[in-house]
Amino acid sequence: MQKPHGGKLINRYIKKDQTQTAEIPEFEVNTNLSEDILNIAKGVFSPLEGFLCYNDLENVINDKRLENDTPWTIPILLDFNGDNIKEGDTVLLSNKENGVKAIFDIEEIYTYDKKTLAKNIYSTTDEEHPGVANVSKMRPKLIGGKITLLDSKQREFDNYNLSPRETRILFKEKGWKEIVAFQTRNPPHIGHEYVQKTALTFVDGIFINPIIGKKKAGDFKDEVILSSYETLMKHYYLKDRAVMSILRTSMKYAGPREAIHHAIMRKNFGCTHFIVGRDHAGVGNYYGPYDAHEIFSEFPDLGIIPVFFRSFSRCTKCGSVVNDKICPHDQKYHINFSGKKIREILRDGKVPPEDMMRKEVAETILKFDNPFIE
């Protein structure tokens, strides 16, 4: 079985009735932070047991590693205004939307430089970059320390929400030893299916792992993404070779660094391979198309094998989906899988051509009154 990142699958959850919280000061955190708390507690962010302290943050910024040399590229931080609490205090972090309640043992309170953080994590200080914009909105101090989750409430799509220990047991029960993970934020088109099935050919199973959560206007709704994948898997995948479960986390758009972070999370779910496409986790023109491939060469100790895909398209000469390594024909014979074009066709209430998207998938999407976020 795949080893968790850092060697141990973290579980920082205890039942609420096992601890007294009445006397502990309570602080409301935003939904993104509450997702981080859940991911720490359930082991998605193993080996993290809480929010980063100063030395870990400095190492992540400068060396893309935790202080103990474990690869880690995206800092998991808790920012605050700096009043009423001190190092050594214990507080209760809560979030109404997710029903999260977690004990937080404050180990360290420290300052940080927003420009250095943005420049190193996002490779830019341009405020137009969504990640940089988020950094500039962060509060002036950071708090590091371990968290212990006490409670969280049932939420939409929980039937698709498996924790790392659940996926690990699932893969074991299925007899899978080598598992490739596929991350997505969109319903599947033929190109996605090609990539997934090409990778699946060489391993035991595929773990389709859509990121669910805050999205921008014009994106597909979460329920549309899940339904469309269910349809694709029902009609075109072997039941014993494909599994889908969601991941609740926010996109940082940190390009190459985020590709490593995405791979680490999937390693914790028990996957041995991770599909990395063109401009993975990129936004605008901040990163080169294959920066997210190249960064993997810095981590001989990552412990999960990246499966790189460059561009792929439909070749009218070959009559199939191809990539730049296997097709000798001129670009003029190549039709790209344009997500934008597919969205336009669906927005008009029409079914895209079958060489772009499976008819069953398109029909599933069109059953929704409005498949897009307003």
Binding site: K3, K8, I10, N11, D69, I169
Partner: protein, 77 residues
Amino acid sequence: MEEEKNEKKYTTISIPTPLAEKIKKRIAGTGFHSLSSYVTYVLREVISGMDEEEGEAFSKEDEEKVKERLRALGYLD
């Protein structure tokens, strides 16, 4: 205080000079900027394959509960 906290913890190791020379030749023109960065890379690769496996963090009883949930959700038959 913060500078102090950020002091890097590097150490010096000795390797035979002929080996060091061979490595220097080998890494010339590659992405490795120094002998140290190459040796660090190789050692990280070697050590990651040797890490001791820790036991899974769940008991038999927990495992059965998880399997029940997986069956209820249709992930397992």
